[in-house]
Symmetry: C2
Subunit: 734 residues, 2 copies
Amino acid sequence: MAPVSISDITSRLAGLSFQSDKIVEHAAAKTAQEWRDALAGKSQGDLVLTKTLLFKPKTAKTAVPTPVLVIAKEDTETSAAAIGKLLNLKELRVASEDLMKDVMPGVENKDDRDLISLSTPVALRFASGTTSVFLTGPEIKTYLESLQNKQANEVEGTLTNAQIRVVDFASIKKDEVAEKPVGAAVSKEAKEAAAAKKKEGKKEDAYEMAVAYTKEGDFPGWYSDVLIKGDMLDYYDVSGCYILKPWSYSVWQAIQTWFDGEIKKLGVDDCYFPMFVSSARLEREKDHIEGFAPEVAWVTRAGSKDLDEPIAIRPTSETVMYPYYAKWIRSHRDLPLKLNQWNSVVRWEFKNPQPFLRTREFLWQEGHTAFLTEEEAGREVRQILDLYRRVYEDLLAVPVIPGVKSEKEKFAGGYYTTTVEGYIPTTGRGIQGATSHCLGQNFSKMFDITVEDPRNPGQKAHVWQNSWGLSTRSIGVMVMIHGDDQGLVMPPRVAHVQVVVVPVGLTAKLSEEDRKNIYDTCEKVAADLNAVGIRTKADLREGYTPGWKFNDWELRGVPVRLEVGPRDIAAGEVKAIRRHDNNKSQLSMGDLAQAMPKFLDEIHDAMFAKAKKSFDEHLYKIDKWEQVVPALDSKNVLILPWCEAEECEDDIKDRSAKQSTEGQVVDEKAPSAGAKSLCIPFDQDRFGKLEPGTKCIGCGGEAKRWTMFGRSAYPFATDCLNMPAYFGPFSPLN
Amino acid sequence: MAPVSISDITSRLAGLSFQSDKIVEHAAAKTAQEWRDALAGKSQGDLVLTKTLLFKPKTAKTAVPTPVLVIAKEDTETSAAAIGKLLNLKELRVASEDLMKDVMPGVENKDDRDLISLSTPVALRFASGTTSVFLTGPEIKTYLESLQNKQANEVEGTLTNAQIRVVDFASIKKDEVAEKPVGAAVSKEAKEAAAAKKKEGKKEDAYEMAVAYTKEGDFPGWYSDVLIKGDMLDYYDVSGCYILKPWSYSVWQAIQTWFDGEIKKLGVDDCYFPMFVSSARLEREKDHIEGFAPEVAWVTRAGSKDLDEPIAIRPTSETVMYPYYAKWIRSHRDLPLKLNQWNSVVRWEFKNPQPFLRTREFLWQEGHTAFLTEEEAGREVRQILDLYRRVYEDLLAVPVIPGVKSEKEKFAGGYYTTTVEGYIPTTGRGIQGATSHCLGQNFSKMFDITVEDPRNPGQKAHVWQNSWGLSTRSIGVMVMIHGDDQGLVMPPRVAHVQVVVVPVGLTAKLSEEDRKNIYDTCEKVAADLNAVGIRTKADLREGYTPGWKFNDWELRGVPVRLEVGPRDIAAGEVKAIRRHDNNKSQLSMGDLAQAMPKFLDEIHDAMFAKAKKSFDEHLYKIDKWEQVVPALDSKNVLILPWCEAEECEDDIKDRSAKQSTEGQVVDEKAPSAGAKSLCIPFDQDRFGKLEPGTKCIGCGGEAKRWTMFGRSAYPFATDCLNMPAYFGPFSPLN
């Protein structure tokens, strides 16, 4: 990393309300002593020396470590073992300088125990070695947090995913439970795990798998932990990018297979457009470029040669595709044109990334269609939206409410936007599932996509266009809704493994023959089920206890576990345990293959019913303003009589935010989580007749329709509500 | 485009053997006259003024124009109409300055008729407006050609796809046939098309579709023309990128569906790794970076912010994936690890791009697997290779010969490489279909992918790895092998539309009832066939003659055309025309649905047999050196007794190149097309026993095995043989 100049530092600290007089330059200093001398007289008050240590757990060699940055007074005893134990990390070792630079840009770590002289205010040394900035402890914390958030772009390292916690080293040294971050709860297992390490290899693995946070206690911590330990993804050494492992990618493939089949029935063809967009093309539509320009990734160099013109990586494909629509659509006979592509798009967000929900590259499908008439276009918008509803409800067992977006929330540049809206019980927030837009003729006018109008010979008509998108974010929603403290809970229709068969009752006194019989039976059960298309795995791994295997598959959320032991075989049965409710039952071995599909459907239905119930119970219909904020604070989404005026929506958002006390307490990152309109449900009857003359809950004007309002979008923070409107509809974030 | 400095110019002209004294600076000049004055005394001999005109055809609005750059003496009459007619381009209009910059970087075109003063030598003005370089006509041609080739990186425009031809304007003005580029043959239809334009709208379309070149006469011209007019792809405004339209993408999906199903049977799981690679990661393996660094695209900016570290777009995923293999593989119980991904990779090649064969972004699958033993790895290498053989032979009807690569041709860094090799009759060149590599332990040693060896407790063992890849290049091979002068010929199993039903005999005197009956019958036939899974389309478009529809579907290569007319209906039959051999037969309407699958299989078999025959006939087994070059020149690939020594392979290549006269005549871009080893066929018996003591045809040493040699890889030029070895195996180009 290049030396950091004063202006760098100032910009880094910008907005953190530090005065620049806290930045001083001084003679180069390598050791603590040189440092102390160099800073002599430059600090207010005494210099209290501290140490900054960077540890990596054993996994670090794979370049996606969980680095632990420790800043403490020099005299504090900071035992690596104790820290590792506290954080449930394996064999903490002191990290390399490179990693240090990734984790805390600008801050030097010349040698393993590089000292940063610290007092109140504290001096942080930046990489120039001749510049220090005086900060107080809290200000350091703020700076670290700033790296997590708006300056993530300058941190290709892992701090963006990090937690910052205050630790009482005295106490952990004494093996007491360390002070935990707000809301976090290191599980008993996790602590035992650390203790158990090294002694019992197998047990260690088993414990290592345990989810370290409770879903209610620390939802963000739980979410990442479940995804990693449930084997859905792994972190990657480019910030904001994640590896989709087979366990999650197979869910996406299940969605692809089903959805692609359905749109082909509608006459949609798949195609592939290049990932690159020339700057000229991208910048052609000035209105739009403003919206997404800040997040466009630019290729400026190939090999060692600079390109004459930088080339963008598509953030979405309107400007990529529509010029060709103008070329290909030459007659009304070329209509309708219905193309879809399965691809990845890149939006270089500088906000705190989150797996599936906010990633710099994500997978999606984007459909782009053109019709002669508004009627045809409108029909397709609803057909596609219903397919999205079915993806959520029939595949992912996630209930959604279809409706239309308010003018404020619709796709900027579109005509109207339809959406399926979900609900995350843990946070009480709505979450957008997918959107299907009618673009009207706005884009066909921009890109001059016209045909001779068969209805008015000689007249040219601009085509009517739709666009619609569903992304891998759907997987994140699925995890948040069904997962529990034991890990993932996979809906059976998209589960990579639907049924796992585990041999049990393998006692020492079991004869080799009986033992073999059990294993053979497990394999036969698996074979029979696979033969009828049920994805089944027999877990015959040697050297693992049944208990370990139960943990393993529970963590991964396999819907059904079948246990086969001597007694079961004798009775011609298998024991079936359902992951989502831990219900146990005996199934007859004989007709397992016939019975299992129904068994899985029942699980799907039960999971859906449970999620639906919690959505319904928190779908709170009210008509008095006083009820709004309390209802929001008790994790409801609201059904309000509303006038549909944009100013009124803004007003509702402001007032509900100001009056909310939720922000500070529950969601540090959402100090002002106001309610926005989620959608105007198509099914109005569900909420009873809206009597003529009913007043709008916001402005007291005439209410038009029941509208769903709520805290929304990004379950961990509201900042994604500031996403460029252009991205609105396609964004995985709102 | 920034003004061009003298050094820019020098570098542009580097290697073109121009002396820098040909570059002069002078006063800025806008008009021809100012120009003449500015250059007064600076040119050798008289100034012969010329004009440079840039035309765009009507399609240009879609930003992928076919620009026509005309450089001629000023007094030459260059009628846009005549040029358009010659080139079969529609409504040539003078192009914008922007386009000019794309097409001929550095050369100014201040106004529509900007003049470049030309003499012998000629002065070309560069964009600074105050610099000219004196070139002769031939040197201009060389410069233009250089833009096509090694300087393509400086040309984001379309010249990289352009042809350069010398035109006698006098003759085309007189409506004579213009001088054509070597080997090119503007088809009769194409010329009539130009003439027919504007008069007959429908006929114009019909003619527009006709392929403008013959496959034998101008293979490159034929290839692009067939792809565009067959609706497989469209050009794109980023050089080297192409749009895969449904007609080609569906072929890829057919390959995906079949291949993905097969590898899943082998226990391979799909996953998705990010497209980005940190520079640290990419540069970790110095040996490799050297190989592909020149073609890596770098993201250096997001929005308006420069990234601290440039981030690469994956050219292939070894360095992306293997560090995680090291993390995930912690015990031999984690083996085998078998992952595959369907993705796109980017290699910013500066050579002349070609659809499917050399593109800057291409789609592929890359499998990366790890095993405990060499045996397991070796078994998979062959299993995958056989799947590749079946993709080519059973899906694309393209015969291939499986074998192992020579040491020289194997994947650099791998242990050994297996391949399926095809043959392009039109050029007489071999072409690599796909490769399956055993990487041995080379990568596991680089990335430290180890397990405790269950065979030697306490010992750590490096895993054995394979990697294997198949790209969209396979589609290009399919087109080159089966296509003909009428257009594409699609193998039935991957054809987007397998059967098209066209109503015929719709004479004026036909009763409305009979007419409706014909249409209904067409729809019923299509419905019946679709019901049994045969992709069928009834072409009931109004306003097109049957003849126009025949052309349309022939050009797109639909395997079977069914014609339904009054007489057919009366006889309870349909007329079936097979695209590949134009064979006509009557099929009974009654059992069409039962008969059609077999009918399509017969077509597949016939297409395969035809391609196989031509491959076999040109698989030329020889044992005397004198026969080598003549055999190559008569478009054969050779089966030679060979010693398998690398020096000998180089020697064979050099000698066969030097002695060849093929380069100059047939392939301008391949002045020295030597023979390289394509593979050592696994099926040696096919070529008869190699008697002990048989001499190597190259060095006279002891021959080891029959080896297939030939001119290879890139059917239009041999320069792709210089591809970085690292890319070798995965490259769509060799």
